[in-house]
């Protein structure tokens, strides 16, 4: 196992006290594997990824749990040692390519800085390697691009530069936080293809965070669905699309527009919004928005349990269908 999160809990200090943003997330990423994390805005996907890198700022901290990366617990590693892992063994690409590059330095400047930090290459050798990386991510005329400033590049080009920067130190894990959200649809496909190619070539594992199930279907081997700071369903990508068990996952599936759909058909949506972190509902966190909610769902929070081999769900309906039905009738 390359990365294993065990019951990780991330909290933030606010004016109204401590708020739990990610509550007991456990997941595993194998070598060369691509894991997708899906969910609505505010459900804790990004915080999960930032927790792994410990980029939570001053107010956030990992309160409980372990982040095992190649046997080391990143949650307890001293800052100086963690810095060697950041950008070295774990690299990250962000959602906003337009603002992720420093406007006052050239592309070459920023790329070689990362390379010199984590490899033994210096000076000309580092610059040569940077050109090679730019070529690898499909940037035309890489030598000229080394002297360009970020403002003269398009979003797609900048994201390619970010990918080149992230991959230049041959990371074992690449965390991509919504890497294509800010890009045009045509560029999205190019970037996804590029990431796929580079995954094959470099053998890196990818943690892909997105709200776009299309991207998940395209890229991921394994999928983790998050809702309100918790994992609600975890399985391989085929099972997830064929047989989603959690009502939230089913809702997400139904809200994807299909090309064959009738024009008059309205797209399904999940009513309501993710509950605020300060005011979580009792019982199951999805229960107020769930079409199948029963009395038990309001009273007792379900745990994340396997219902089949390699398919974990956090839902009473999926875990105990008979009993859940009985309870539902009682409630009615």
């Amino acid at each position: 196992m390359l990365l294993e999160l065990k019951d990780m809990k991330t909290v933030f200090k606010t004016d109204r006290g401590e708020v739990t943003s990610v509550d007991g997330v456990s997941l595993r990423v194998g070598k060369g594997e691509t894991i997708g994390i899906v969910g609505e805005s505010g459900c804790g996907k990004s915080v999960t990824s930032l927790s792994i890198m410990r980029l939570l700022g001053k107010s956030g901290r990992i309160k409980e749990g372990e982040i095992l990366f190649m046997g080391q617990d990143l949650a307890k590693l001293p800052e100086a040692e963690l810095r060697l892992i950041r950008g070295g063994d774990i690299a990250m690409i962000f959602q906003e390519p337009m603002t992720s590059l420093n406007p006052v330095f050239t592309i070459g400047n920023q790329l070689t800085e990362a390379i010199q930090l984590h490899t033994d290459l210096r000076g000309k050798a580092a610059a040569g390697y940077a050109v090679q990386m730019l070529e690898k991510v499909g940037i035309p005329r890489p030598e000229a691009m080394m002297k360009s400033y970020p403002h003269s590049l398009s979003g797609g080009m900048r994201q390619r530069v970010m990918i080149a920067m992230a991959l230049s130190c041959k990371p074992k894990l690449l965390i991509a936080d919504e890497p294509t959200t800010a890009l045009d649809v045509t560029i999205q496909a190019q970037i996804l293809n590029l990431m796929k190619e580079l995954r094959e070539e470099m053998g890196a594992s990818i943690m892909l965070i997105t709200h776009d199930l299309g991207v998940i279907a395209e890229m991921a081997d394994k999928v983790v669905v998050m809702y309100a700071g918790q994992v609600v369903e975890e399985t391989d990508v085929f099972t997830l699309f064929e047989q989603p068990l959690h009502p939230y996952t089913q809702g997400l599936m139904k809200s994807i527009p299909h090309i064959e759909a009738e024009a008059e058909e309205t797209l399904a949506s999940i009513p309501g919004a993710v509950p605020p972190l300060t005011n979580m509902p009792k019982g199951c966190r999805f229960q107020p928005r769930c079409a199948f909610a029963a009395a038990r769902c309001q009273a007792e929070a379900p745990a994340l349990l396997p219902v089949q081999e390699g398919h974990d769900v956090r839902c009473w309906m999926a875990q105990e269908p008979e009993q859940w039905k009985v309870r539902k009738e009682e409630a009615v």
């Binding site: 950041r86 962000f94 992720s100 800085e113 400033y149």
Partner: protein, 299 residues
Amino acid sequence: MSAVQSKVAGGAVLPLQQDAPEGVFRQMSRRFLKHRLAVAGLAVTLMLIFIAVFAPWLAPHSPYEVTAEFSAAPSSVHWLGTDQVGRDVLSRLIYATRVAVTVGFGTVALYVTFGTIVGLWSAYAGGWVDMIVMRITDVFMAFPYMMVILVVVSVLGPTLWTLVLVLALFSWPSIARLVRGSVLTLKQMDYIKAGVSLGLSTPRIVFRHILPNALAPIIVNATFGVAAAIMAESGLSFLGMGVQPPTASWGNMLTDAQSISVMTDQPWLWLPPGIMILVTVLAINFVGDGLRDALDPKQ
């Protein structure tokens, strides 16, 4: 019609095929050069620095040499006449440039360095460090500083370097606050987060990635600071609390012009230093204006 066509043709060229992307520095100097007054200001400023450096070669006489001609009107020997003790006004004017340049740039170099470091530290540390540092700047900014400067100068003795030190002491808070404000904004930028995620150390992030982005307002503020320091020095010297005679300074040269008879009958005693102060401050402020426009990221 042809304009439209050329536009279309221009639009067809992909930005990637254009050669040698224009550097940030070249863009800025192009914008600065468009500002005529700023260019003129820069020329005057550079000339003053040149005069200050080469004063001994440029001055026709010694600025301290007392001749028998007291308060003589301009002549072929003394182009700007002599003062009340018979010293050459032009030579004194040239040597006084040294004082102005030293005070102007020395003060600014000192307080900009100090203020920038304090501002960076305050903003990056945050919390109670930031709170205390900002209250200290509040205290400094609330002082009636001319009074305090007069007291400090009279205690420490009015030398050129006390003057630089004292002026710097009361100027750093504005830079510190300016830097702190920019850093607080820049700290939240995605590229800083990206830098941290690449494993850069905190000092590297602060000095190599945040500081260059905060540099534009610092440079503009520093430029105006030079002019302000020269004004303050002239004022203090005029009051007799600055540079002491026989060392020449534009301010203490004006002190000689305090009587009505000098004002009316001997304009060569007060007009040249007055004009020098005016021209210098104006030139430097024009440079500041030009820099502000050139460094404005919104353009």
